[in-house]
């Protein structure tokens, strides 16, 4: 029903991202998405990987502050206005999007959109009902 995203505390120091990617490489963890925004002194790195639990374990062992948070990932259709529809649905249903980012890891395909939303399950259901493709949909809808 949701995807596990990892949040990593990131002091604004040179080479810090590299430390994370090197660690993932060492443990054979595949990065599917990664984002960090510019902040003054420290920030939060968000990443989606293939083995989130293992990733947090090795991060913690190396002294990183990291945790798993739950997000929804959607795949909007490739046409003008599809993003507007997505956010309109969320707005109309009173959801609060804390942050969003997109990532492309697939050739010639639309980017996925990661959404950090309150009331995650409800949001996933509403999106789905409104024809938005929610990734990992089998896990989102109960049997």
């Amino acid at each position: 029903m949701y995807i596990k995203q990892i949040s990593i505390f990131l002091p604004n120091q040179k080479g810090h991202l590299e430390k994370v990617t090197r660690l993932f490489l060492k443990h054979n963890i595949d990065i599917r998405a990664i984002v960090a925004f510019d902040t003054a002194e420290y920030g939060i790195l968000r990443t989606i990987v293939d083995q989130p639990d293992k990733a947090v374990k090795v991060l913690n062992e190396e002294g990183f502050v990291a945790k798993i948070s739950k997000v929804i990932v959607v795949e909007p259709e490739d046409r003008t206005g599809s993003l507007h529809e997505l956010f309109e649905i969320l707005a109309n249903n009173d959801f609060n999007v804390e942050y969003t980012y997109s990532f492309v890891m697939r050739q010639d395909l639309m980017p996925f959109f990661v959404l950090k939303i309150n009331e995650l399950e409800k949001a996933a259901r509403v999106l789905c009902e409104n024809g938005i493709k929610v990734i990992n949909i089998k896990e989102i809808l109960p049997d």
């Binding site: 902040t39 002194e41 002294g63 502050v65 942050y99």
Partner: protein, 437 residues
């Protein structure tokens, strides 16, 4: 410069007269605290001292020291020698637990305080012709109210400006024609910079003649800068709230040490490690006994300030002993823009803050003329990574607690776990980069 004026005859007695006054008042004080302050009575008894044992001034050495810790243990009124009914004013300074050190004044104490301030402002040259701008923060801090009452007492025109809002300070200073500035030395330097930015030349556009600086130590280099920036006579005065506030001592126009009001205070210099009393001119920790205060008499208070005593007669005509500029501290107390802070207090705030580890590093430096403090702490709670807001509010909460409990505005840096230095022996958690010239 006008001829040296002296406010009180009691500033030019001869040594024997001072000694006689001090002995008589010391005897009274010891008797009074013994009778009225159970904590002191027990302390004296534990040291085997009865009031009758004080027969000469040298017998003061038999009395145990009072330290800041004693104030803490007796928070808030335990050291008072009078019922609170007789207290007409409270003040407080920051203490080691986040609880302030509380001091009280009777009506007579307020009269004494006024008189002492009248002396130290007269030493500088301030008269009833002057317009005095007080740029200390008004409130529990003794600085602003102390100077305020004494300046009014001599008939000066007081502007109770308080600190902050620097541009407005400069405007008032210009428009009212302030002739005396009362502030911390670092704030005065900051004000001078702001004045310059506003296109004001203090030497031409302002009427300022005197600076009376206190609340924190300063160096001769700072005095030079202050005189250069403002075109004033920059003087320093010294006191602490436990003893009365400002008024313990101040510099005269000769600028060779601060005169102690010896008919109200007995100074000693001790070796901070052994407690042994040192001789004239020797450098050590200043210890002061109050001998006229009613509400809160203090016996042999260890100020933590390092200085020396000079009994030579001063060119200004005063015969009172002078202390040299404060050279430093015998403990790890930090003075940040006039606020006294022990690293242990910061530690206490941090230990009571959620989401961070127990290790920390404090960095103190100057930005322009203002003291800045940064505290590095290790982030421990991964849950705050849920949103940047939560991470920010963790930081803000710590900042806010440091501000509300200790009165300091610290920048808080979150760092990763296990990145701050660990100490096996004595921890060195403070880096002071203010490097005195």
């Amino acid at each position: 410069m006008d001829k040296f004026r002296i406010w009180s005859e009691n500033e030019k007695l001869d040594r024997e007269q001072y000694r006689a006054i001090q002995l008589e008042r010391l005897k009274e004080t010891v008797k009074r605290v013994y009778e009225n302050v159970p904590y002191y009575r027990k302390k004296l008894q534990d040291s085997g001292v009865e009031p009758g044992d004080i027969k000469s001034l040298e017998d003061i050495r038999r009395i145990p020291f009072t330290v800041k810790e004693d104030f803490r243990e007796n928070y808030p009124f335990g050291l008072f020698a009078v019922p609170t009914k007789q207290i007409v004013r409270f003040h407080a300074s920051s203490g080691t637990t986040g609880k302030p050190t509380v001091v009280g004044y009777t009506k007579n104490d307020m009269e004494t305080w006024k008189e002492l301030i009248a002396r130290i402002v007269t030493m500088v040259g301030v008269t009833d012709e002057d317009i005095a701008q007080i740029s200390f923060g008004y409130g529990l801090f003794t600085g602003a109210f102390g100077l305020h009452q004494g300046l009014e007492h001599i008939g000066a025109s007081v502007i109770p400006m308080s600190s902050g809002n620097t541009k407005r300070q400069i405007m008032i200073m210009k428009d009212f024609g302030s002739t005396a500035l009362i502030s911390t030395p670092s704030y005065a330097l900051h004000m001078a910079e702001v004045a310059k930015e506003m296109g004001i030349d203090p030497k031409k556009d302002l009427k300022l003649k005197y600076g009376l600086f206190g609340g924190e130590g300063s160096t001769e280099a700072m005095r030079c800068e202050l005189e250069e920036a403002w075109g004033i006579l920059a003087t320093e005065n010294y006191g602490m709230s436990e003893l009365i506030g400002p008024g313990v001592s101040g510099e005269c126009q000769v600028l060779k040490g601060m005169h102690i009001n010896e008919d109200h205070f007995i100074p000693e210099i001790i070796d901070p490690d052994t407690g042994e009393v040192l001789g004239e001119g020797e450098v050590g920790e200043l210890v002061i006994t109050t001998i006229t205060k009613e509400a809160l008499p203090v016996l042999r208070y260890r100020t933590g300030d390092i200085t020396s005593l000079n009994y030579d007669k001063c060119e200004c005509g005063r015969t009172t002993v002078r202390i040299d500029k404060i050279q430093g501290r015998s403990d790890d107390m930090l003075i940040l823009g006039g606020v006294n802070v022990f690293p242990s207090q910061i530690e206490e705030v941090l230990l009571n803050s959620e989401g961070i580890g127990p290790h920390y590093q404090i960095k103190v430096y100057k930005q322009g003329y203002l003291d800045k403090i940064e505290v590095d702490v290790e982030l421990a709670d991964a849950d705050v990574l849920e949103s940047f807001q939560r991470l920010e509010s963790l930081n803000q909460n710590i900042r806010e607690r440091l501000r509300s409990i200790l009165g300091i505005d610290a920048k808080v840096n979150l760092v990763e776990p296990r990145t701050l230095a660990r100490f096996e022996g004595k921890a060195k958690r403070v880096i002071d980069l203010r490097g005195e010239k």
